[in-house]
Symmetry: C2
Subunit: 151 residues, 2 copies
Amino acid sequence: MVDILHKVGIKAPLDEVYKALTTRDGLAGWWTTDTQGDSAVGGVLRFRFHASGVEVGGFDMKVLALQPATQVLWEAVDGPAEWIGTRISWELKQDGEHVIVLFKHQGWKEPVEFMHHCSTKWAVFLMSLKSLLETGKGAPSPDDVKIDNWN
Amino acid sequence: MVDILHKVGIKAPLDEVYKALTTRDGLAGWWTTDTQGDSAVGGVLRFRFHASGVEVGGFDMKVLALQPATQVLWEAVDGPAEWIGTRISWELKQDGEHVIVLFKHQGWKEPVEFMHHCSTKWAVFLMSLKSLLETGKGAPSPDDVKIDNWN
């Protein structure tokens, strides 16, 4: 098992950071504008990505746990084969003027090239989350920052 | 053992990407402007970071292997305790119009919060490398993109 780990610190109220991870509007502001589904515990959030107006894939995330201002936990239930069954965990804590977000994408079976890609791409989206909360403007797909030949 | 993995794709000549990872001038253009030392195999590169004009730390990397246009391998021989003995590997390959960079920072003993920070920060510096090669301008320290309370 190998994991993707990240950390960002965000100068914004803790409850706003939590909302950006737990509401469709919040998620659509930094990850992908095409965010649908049910954001409550037990629900499934559907994230879809588009290029040149055509849907090119996405992820379905079951919401396993929500602890206000503290933790969000998802399990990937549909999407690329490498993602299915993996878990994405967000831990929040206040540290001075920053809300610290500790991110983990756990349960990868092998450290394949796609995992390298997803690790860098998660960092870019975490910076988009930070930007959304600090400036009011994120960079969700389809206007996300491109990193390589897989976008 | 846990690893940091990343991938970027860079639209630039392969030999220029290799030079940006294997010469002091290249490294100073995307990681830290204060890059000193010997970039040949067996040499030690000294990377130092500054904030408000004061040196705040750095890393010494022994160059273990250089394979032109293909691979660069460093070992951290001085710096934060968590880094000492870890290895940083860069694999390069051409894929269509992109030079693919597969990055690994291997040998972390524990997935501590500092590892989360370093993972995100490496992604930001890899995007700085990409920007240097594609636009002529990177964002090396001290003008690097800040990600959290640890910078």
